[in-house]
Symmetry: C2
Subunit: 220 residues, 2 copies
């Protein structure tokens, strides 16, 4: 950290809120926090511990939204997105930070929050597979790609897709070799033991169970 001033600083603001899915935020954080000069900030409406959707984990927000006026990269995770989609103060802050970023990255249902803020308006975007219909209600075409770029807005599919998206973002922000350095740091040579990562490849009974799990985890 003492060397942060040696390189041009890159401020990465990770917006966290009650009910977020922790991996949505931590995947991209772990990739991007290692970029040269990176300074990652976990930001919430108020400072302090923020409970994730499971109820079993709290991430600490070191800064309140009111203390952050600019970011080079903004990360918006998913999870209990509906509460944020109805939160005018959060949407206003996201709009103001987005106006200052080079890159705005949503993961999972974070793209619904960007759509509710009017940051995503039209075009195509990725989201969690279970939320494609909701994105469509905002006039945004749900992409089935794992990572979708629209100008400076990058949207990732569900949860773990934030890792792929952050690697793509790292290459755009720096260069491919730097992105590869971070890929090697996190030893990202995935070998999923099963093929159930998308609703198109999963057994239909697994899809049904997942929908029931999601209804319990994120009641409308």
């Amino acid at each position: 950290m003492s060397n942060a001033e040696a390189a041009p600083s890159r401020v990465i603001a990770v917006y966290i809120y009650p009910g977020l899915t922790a991996l949505d935020a931590i995947g991209p954080y772990e990739i991007l926090r290692g970029l040269p000069g990176a300074v990652a900030q976990f930001v919430a409406e108020a400072r302090g511990p923020i409970a994730a959707d499971s109820g079993f984990l709290r991430l600490h927000a070191d800064l309140a939204c009111a203390e952050v006026a600019q970011a080079d990269i903004l990360i918006v995770p998913g999870g209990n997105a509906p509460a944020q989609m109805k939160n005018p103060a959060a949407l206003d802050w996201l709009r103001r930070i987005h106006a200052t970023t080079r890159w705005t990255l949503s993961v999972c249902t974070g793209s619904l929050i960007l759509a509710a803020a009017g940051i995503l308006a039209g075009g195509a975007a990725a989201t969690h597979w279970s939320a494609r219909e909701t994105l469509l209600q905002f006039g945004v075409a749900p992409s089935r790609a794992r990572v979708t770029r629209q100008g400076k807005i990058i949207t990732a599919a569900g949860v773990s897709a934030g890792i792929d998206a952050a690697l793509a973002l790292a290459a755009l922000e720096c260069d491919q070799a730097t992105a590869e350095l971070m890929q090697l740091f996190v030893e990202y040579a995935p070998e999923p033991p099963f093929k159930a990562g998308t609703p198109e490849t999963a057994d239909p009974r697994v899809v049904d169970r997942a929908r029931a799990f999601l209804r319990r985890a994120y009641p409308a």
Copy 2:
């Protein structure tokens, strides 16, 4: 949470400590916390916020080691492992919890901590690619597999490998369909944009840069 008593409870203890790599812990947590009856507990030597290796993030420990005497699944992340390898109280707690688990999962250099505790003794285990020599010093053969099982001990390679390992563990603990449900929940159909996820596949210049990055991040 109100339904936790309906299913047999599975206690998942995630050991966190200053300098841990957050994704090592959060990847497996996000998979396993959704198993039926799962209760995840973030445990540290003392309750309160625990700073990750980047210095940019704090995870909250809700329980102190002294408050936790049993776990069905124990997760030991990597990061600043050397400090834990020289921490007799931590090693003693890990030994005592391991004696009560059905599964003990290390991620990244977490396997060095298991080796220092004598939990891993002989056989083969996975670790971060940069730590293979260190594991060998404990008489444990470093496996190049992404996930290695030795009885009830499952070791994952670096950082992101904890996701693959947790999916394998979920299938062992429950059944394949339940593991697939969690894979679909986190939409784990990875598409790394580059092939630099292992030192064998990365450009040698990227490996050199990664070694320098690691020396700065984790001074010996």
